[in-house]
């Protein structure tokens, strides 16, 4: 009896491993192995026609940290994250509150807010070209009515990154809205009634009851938005190409450029490692913050 029990357990274990094997092989090939090989590659010099690639330790990293372009791109990415994350969250929250209220045309509002999420970023960038084109673009045409000078939104260092940021917020806010919508729908209505009986204003009700209850959602959305501030760079290819003069360049775009325009793979690998390290920090944040969530979902 006992032996058959152990036999059964062993069979279960074997089945479990067999079922996992295909996915593990894939994950290893396209996630874990490339991570390790990026780290490995970043310790070598670039192969040129004259010199073969050789081990140089941390030189790629020291070069990066001394490169002003690196600091500029990193700063750009920090601004990009630091602006898109909070602004998207605030807009998403207002969208959700409106789409959840008893307002006229709620369904239309929801669709309108969510539609940009469904578009490819490349398409979104093409749509925004109409707004940003100097002189003939929509923005300049409107401001021109008030006698403003045309502005080359994408072509000047002061505004290029901001133009990119606006498109990102436009694309992502509606996506985050649905998480808030779902969370709002789980708030029991009697809380609201109780607040009204207590004579609390809507503002107080929102600040004291709704926002605290939405905290886990905010955290979840924030993690998502952090990941997106690394990932969302497609519109750079259409709108600015990271220019002018690196003013709107972001890390992932720079990785792509380093590897596939300048063919400096070791340097691109070093950048990849740095970005993965940052994502690792975000992961730790997530596991700390969402531990409860993962278990009860």
């Amino acid at each position: 009896m006992i032996s058959s029990d152990r036999h059964e357990r062993r069979r279960m274990a074997m089945y479990g491993w067999m079922l996992l094997a295909p996915a593990l092989i894939m994950l290893t090939t396209f996630a874990f192995l490339p991570t390790v090989s990026a780290l490995w590659r970043s310790f070598f010099s670039r192969e040129t026609s004259r010199n073969p690639s050789e081990f140089i330790g941390l030189e790629n990293y020291t070069y990066l940290f001394q490169d002003p372009i690196f600091w500029q791109v990193a700063t750009n990415n920090l601004i990009y994250a630091g602006v898109t994350i909070p602004v998207s969250i605030v807009i998403a929250l207002s969208m959700a509150l409106w789409a959840n209220s008893k307002m006229q045309g709620r369904t239309f509002l929801r669709i309108a807010y969510f539609t940009p999420t469904m578009l490819p970023m490349i398409a979104a960038a093409n749509l925004w070209l109409f707004f940003y084109t100097p002189d003939i673009g929509l923005i300049d045409s409107i401001t021109g009515l008030f006698g403003a000078e045309p502005v080359n939104w994408l072509g000047q260092p002061e505004t290029a990154l901001w133009a990119i940021i606006v498109v990102t917020i436009w694309k992502e806010a509606g996506f985050y809205m649905i998480f808030y919508l779902a969370a709002l729908q789980t708030i029991p209505p009697d809380l609201r009634e109780a607040a009204i009986i207590e004579g609390a204003s809507r503002w107080t009700y929102l600040r004291r009851i709704v926002l605290p209850l939405l905290m886990p959602t905010t955290l979840f959305v924030m993690i998502n938005a952090m990941i997106n501030s690394v990932k969302l760079i497609d519109h750079l290819f259409i709108l600015t190409k990271g220019g002018p003069n690196n003013a709107s360049k972001l890390l992932l775009y720079w990785i792509w450029e380093t590897a596939f325009s300048y063919f400096d793979r070791p340097m691109a690998a070093a950048l990849t490692v740095l970005v993965l390290a940052v994502l690792g920090l975000v992961a730790i944040l997530q596991f700390r913050g969402l531990e409860g969530r993962i278990h009860y979902r």
Binding site: A13, L19, V87, Y113, M118, L119, P120, F130, L181, L252
Partner: protein
């Protein structure tokens, strides 16, 4: 203008908490109109000649000229087919790999399971987008460069899919499994007859999110394709719309509208299901 809009909406946010429904409705509608205006304007412009569109001549006649020009300028049918093949292939791969792994994590006890699960969850943060340099080398070495399979293969074993299906399988009552076992089903039979049918809503939600995500994906396909035989729509569109291509902006609009039409129409028809799906499968 847009930064101002943002500020305005925050101002309205404060207005929201007064008992003034009217102001709020106006704000909500204003934001909605701002939000769809890029799409509406591009759609309007795509049906007008360049000079009419850029002078905002609202009375100007409609024309299909831009669509005709865009259509003949690039192999769109091929791009559509490539994208279609790509999302189908990725989805089939994801169903296969994630079903097996999700089943193992949900229903099999074995040593090392927890460690493996954490390892799988780590992949949520090792974004395929960030690994373009290394995956380019790996895919090339596998002889899959410039193939539909090469674009799809890094996404097939998705940690998120595994996580999602594991959750779905865990909620299936054990009694169903017992009943199937008494009827003589093996482990795979139980998966096929009991678990997969029970997890159908999860599969559907995951499919919707997966299709939308990979229909729109750009960076990795850009890196790993090199010919119009494999290029998906997004990459084709980016080449078409590149500033150096010198194509008129209204023709670009027509091409853009053309390439987003299928997904957009699907979304408008099934918007509720799409939003539900994105909600269920939160992380893309």
């Amino acid at each position: 203008m847009n930064v101002e809009t943002t500020n305005a909406s925050q101002g309205f946010l404060a207005g929201f908490f007064q008992e003034d429904g009217g102001l709020e409705t106006i704000a909500a509608w204003l934001l909605a109109i701002v939000w769809i205006s890029p799409l509406i304007f591009a759609a309007w412009a795509s049906f007008h000649t360049a000079s009419d569109a850029l002078s905002f001549n609202l009375a100007s006649p409609l024309t299909l000229v831009n669509y005709i020009e865009a259509w003949f300028d690039a192999p769109w049918i091929r791009y559509f087919f490539n994208t279609f093949a790509l999302v189908t292939l990725i989805l089939l791969g994801q169903f296969f790999f994630c079903t097996l792994a999700g089943y193992a994590f949900a229903r099999f006890e074995f040593r090392g399971r927890e460690v493996l699960f954490i390892l799988v969850l780590m992949q949520l943060f090792i974004l395929p987008e960030v690994l373009i340099v290394e995956n380019y080398v790996i895919v090339s070495n596998l002889g899959l460069f410039d193939s539909i399979l090469g674009i799809g293969v890094p996404y097939m074993a998705s940690a998120f899919g595994i996580f999602l299906l594991r959750q779905a399988f865990k909620q299936v009552p054990k009694e169903l499994e017992e009943a199937a076992r008494i009827e003589g089903c093996g482990w795979l039979g139980i998966l096929w007859r009991v678990y997969m049918p029970a997890a159908r809503p999860t599969y559907l939600a995951y499919a919707m999110v997966s299709i939308a995500t990979h229909w729109n994906n750009f960076l990795w396909p850009l890196v790993v394709t090199n010919s119009s035989d494999t290029r998906p729509l997004t990459v084709g569109l980016s080449l078409f719309a590149a500033p150096e291509s010198g194509v008129s902006i209204v023709v670009i609009s027509a091409a853009t509208l053309m390439s987003i039409a299928p997904l957009l129409i699907a979304f408008l028809l099934f918007q509720r299901q799409f939003m539900q799906a994105f909600l269920r499968a939160g992380i893309r």
